[in-house]
Assembly symmetry: C2
Homo-oligomer: 281 residues x 2
């Protein structure tokens, strides 16, 4: 989904002529060919990378190390390699460990765009338009590749920001990874109750939007939680404190504190707007 | 918002000729007149009820008892009185306590429809169309009024279900009240962190949808949490257990259990569909 959407957007922007695709599942590359997402199917990741100008690695975070190993012998100093992973410290560690002196060609990237659906059939040429992309270059990243990465994402309609891998992972633990965990935990909490199915049949549009991200891909999110364990643990603790505080206001009938606490949250959410989106939403 | 939307929908369905409005804030009724939501402004709740066929009480849950007291002397045995509150046991208790022998005219109603915006200016003639409405009649509810309530909501395009007040409150603690509390708690958890504002500036569409309900009205939600304290406390405990379990899988690097747990949640959410909505959403 992420890789195919990138391919479609790059083609529409006129930034690429030939798109070589590889997936460990042959049916995926067959579908990608059929849908016009790729021009050529490669027999291996190594073959896909060979001779390419730009390489986008769109795999679950835990597969990135193996992917680096598979392609490193065809990486050249001029090539631009990017990923689209939701965690960055682990990816940067793997790149430094596996790629050695070629690590300068790798620009770690996290486009803040996604869907709960996966696979090439969910490709969307507009997925990245108007979205933010975070780049987390390190000291050894080559300026040439960093500039090209910035220019490419900008051409796709993205606004580009740079930060350190650690700052990235702390922020996304709070605003993305934790919300996913909470949505998964809520589904599990309800479905393990005796009357859970009856309860679910009564849920409305608030529940629909709140739990949309709970339909996300299990492998991908398992990898993200594991890769960002330290920051996740901190954010879970912070959240549990905030929840415990509100729960005790309810059980102690502390009306005044509860109303203040809800009002604080409500104002904060009303004042928040999706980056690059009009505040009319 | 709830009351005005009902007025607009009733008028469009040709079910009412004259709509009398009362609000404790005079600017609300003035706006309602101006927007064509009501035909007449009443000087008091008692005056608004006097001579009406159908009375809809759309006030925060904690104000329902005072409203019953204010209108009881103009309620007749033929009148249909309904509320639109999100909790039902407390509303039914108040009705039985205050209305006495007139309680048979009251049909407790909870339309599963809402928005995070409030006020007459957010009125939406289509708010209830295609939505579920839960009625929670008690032994003394008159069949005549119950049938009229069912027929009215059906005419507005709703599907009507009946259940006991307690069963209602247990279900909605799980699928509505708890998600709201979690969304409020998440906003508070992030905004009380040193880098909270920076984190929020990076949040994307998943966060947007997950926290949409955190912008809801503080007074309304304070009242709901307080009115449904017992069921809320049970659901908070259930949720905390589910979250603790997943958190310990992450901190113990128990990959297999974590992936199973996420997959369980993801499948449950994929299999869930909003009642009355096509599964293509």
């Amino acid at each position: 989904m992420m890789g195919s959407s990138f391919a479609l957007a790059m083609k529409r922007a006129g930034l690429v002529k030939r798109i070589v695709g590889y997936s460990k599942s042959p049916s995926t590359t067959a579908k990608a060919l059929q849908l016009g997402v790729i021009t050529v199917e490669a027999a291996s990741a190594l073959q896909a990378v060979s001779g390419s100008d730009i390489v986008l690695i769109a795999v679950p975070v835990a597969a990135i190390e193996g992917t680096f190993k598979a392609i490193k012998h065809m990486i050249t100093p001029d090539m631009l390699i990017m990923d689209v992973g939701s965690t960055k410290s682990d990816v940067v560690d793997a790149a430094q460990r596996i790629l050695g002196s070629l690590v300068g060609s790798f620009v770690p990237a996290h486009p803040i765009a996604g869907k709960e659906r996966t696979g090439v059939e969910s490709a969307d040429v507009n997925l990245y338009a108007g979205r933010k992309v975070i780049l987390t270059p390190v000291a050894r990243t080559l300026t040439n590749q960093l500039n090209r990465a910035q220019s490419i994402w900008t051409s796709l309609g993205c606004s580009v920001e740079s930060m350190s891998p650690d700052a990235h992972d702390a922020a996304f633990a709070a605003v993305s990874h934790l919300p996913h965990l909470l949505a998964f935990a809520l589904m599990n909490s309800i479905t393990t109750q005796k009357n859970g199915d009856d309860y679910l049949s009564l849920a409305g549009t608030g529940f629909r939007d709140f739990t949309r991200i709970a339909a996300s891909d299990p492998e991908m999110w398992h990898d993200i939680f594991m890769a960002n364990k330290v920051q996740m643990t901190l954010q879970i603790e912070q959240f549990q404190q905030a929840l415990d505080l509100m729960a005790s206001m309810i059980s102690n009938s502390d009306s005044k504190s509860l109303q203040t606490s809800i009002a604080h949250a409500s104002v904060a959410r009303k004042n928040w707007h999706l980056s690059n989106e009009l505040p009319t939403k």
